[in-house]
Subunit: 233 residues, 2 copies
C-alpha cells in the first residue's frame, strides 16, 4: 500500500536557495542554476526565439530551457515579447538589468581563459565569440585605431566599431565597414586567439576577407590571451 503517500507536502520552501545575505550568493540564487547563465549569454547580442536558443546551446533540452526562461523572467532578467505582425513570433529579450550582467561573463571568461583545462576546439556560438571580443580587447593596443569591422556569421551580420581604445558590437547591416570577415565563430576564433594565419584559412575556404587586408592583420592582434595558470603538483 505504498500509494498512501499522498501526504507529501510538496512545497515547504519550494526552491533551493542559499540563505545568505551576500549579494554574490543572491546572484547565484537568480542565475546559478545549470544553463541559466548560458541562456543569458545567448541573449546578450539581442532577442532570440525559443528554437534559436535551443540551437545555439548544444545539449540543453526543451523542458530545461522552458524552466530557465520562466525562472529568469520571474527574476526580472528577461521578458518574453511578441513581435508585431507579420512576424508575430515570440522572442525572449533581456531587460536593461539583464544586459547589465555582461561584466559577470567578462570576469568568468577572463578567469577561465587561464585554466589549464580550457579546450578552445569545442563548439563556439556566435554570441560567445562576439562577447569574447568585447572581453579580450586590449585597449592599449587599440588606442589609436578607428575602424569598422563587419562580421558575417551564418545568417546574421554584426558590426564592430573601434574607437578610442574601445569596441562596440551590435547586430547591424555592414555598409560603411572598412573590413568584412566571413566565416564560422570557431574559424574566426582560430585566427584571433589561435594564431592561425589568415592566408591559410582563406586558402582553405574557411574564411573570406573583403576590404582592408592590412586592417585585418592588425585587428586580429588586438585580443591577446592571458597566460595559463600553472597548477601545483
Amino acid at each position: 500500500m505504498k500509494l498512501e503517500k499522498i501526504t507529501q507536502l510538496p512545497n515547504t520552501r519550494s526552491k533551493r536557495h542559499y540563505e545568505d545575505a551576500c549579494a554574490a550568493a543572491h546572484a547565484l540564487d537568480l542565475v546559478g542554476e545549470r544553463w541559466a547563465l548560458l541562456v543569458i549569454r545567448e541573449l546578450m547580442m539581442g532577442p532570440k526565439r525559443f528554437s534559436d536558443l535551443r540551437e545555439s546551446l548544444p545539449g540543453i533540452s526543451a523542458n530545461v530551457l522552458t524552466q530557465r526562461l520562466e525562472g529568469l523572467e520571474a527574476a526580472g532578467v528577461l521578458v518574453r515579447r511578441k513581435l508585431p505582425p507579420p512576424a508575430s513570433t515570440q522572442v525572449y529579450e533581456l531587460t536593461e538589468w539583464g544586459y547589465e550582467s555582461e561584466p559577470i561573463f567578462q570576469a568568468l571568461g577572463r578567469w577561465a581563459a587561464r585554466s589549464p583545462r580550457h579546450d578552445p576546439t569545442l563548439p563556439f556560438s556566435t554570441a560567445s565569440f562576439l562577447l569574447s571580443l568585447r572581453t579580450m580587447l586590449d585597449s592599449k593596443r587599440a588606442e589609436g585605431l578607428e575602424a569598422r569591422v563587419g562580421f558575417r556569421l551564418g545568417e546574421e551580420t554584426f558590426l564592430a566599431q573601434l574607437a578610442g581604445g574601445r569596441i562596440e558590437i551590435s547586430r547591424s547591416a555592414l555598409q560603411g565597414a572598412d573590413l568584412i570577415l566571413t566565416g564560422t565563430p570557431p574559424v574566426l576564433a582560430g585566427a584571433i586567439y589561435g594564431g592561425q594565419p589568415l592566408e591559410a584559412l582563406e586558402k582553405a575556404g574557411a574564411l573570406q576577407i573583403e576590404g582592408d587586408r592590412a586592417l585585418a592583420r592588425h585587428f586580429i592582434g588586438l585580443f591577446p590571451l592571458p597566460p595559463k595558470a600553472s597548477i601545483p603538483a
Copy 2:
C-alpha cells in the same frame, strides 16, 4: 548479498559539463556547481579548515563540501595543505589562480545588489562582508583618504588600509589602526549599507568603536549601494 553490484560502471563521462568553447562556459564547468563559488568565497580571505568552512556556509552538508573541495582541488583552484606542527591541522588554501577569481564575485555582487529581491537581513559571513567592502568602495569618495581601519569579527581581526582611493584588506593584527570596529558582519553591514546610525548600534551594544570616531562616520559613507533595478510588469 547486495555486494555483487560491483559491476556499476561509475564513469562513462564522469562529469556533467557544457560542450562549449566559450571561456565563461568553461568557468561554469569548473566552479558552476552548487556551493562551489561560495566555498571559494570563504577561502578568499585566507586558508580555512573543513569545519570553519562548514560553519560559515549555512546549509552545506559534509559530503557535498568534501566533493566540492575535491573538485576544486582537481581543477587547480585550491590545494590542501598541512600546517607545520604543533598545529598539524589540515587547511584548504586557494592557489594564486584561485585568488584571481575575485573579480567574479565583484561582478556577481555588483549586479545582484541591484536585484529587487535581494534580502540583506539573512546571515552574513565574515568573508562576504570583507569582500563586499572591496567590491563596493567608491574610489572617488575615498580618493583623499589615508587610514587604517581595524575589524574585530568574532575570533578574527582584519586590517583595512585605505590609500589613493583603494582599499586593501587582510587578516592581520590591529596595531597602528586609526579606528577599530567590533561587531558582527550583519551589524557592520547595517551601519555601512543599511544606513543605521552608529550611535544607536553602539547604545544597543551591538557595535564598539575605538579610536577616531569622525573617521568612522566618514568610513561608513564610502560604500554606496547601486539603485535597485526596476523590473517590468
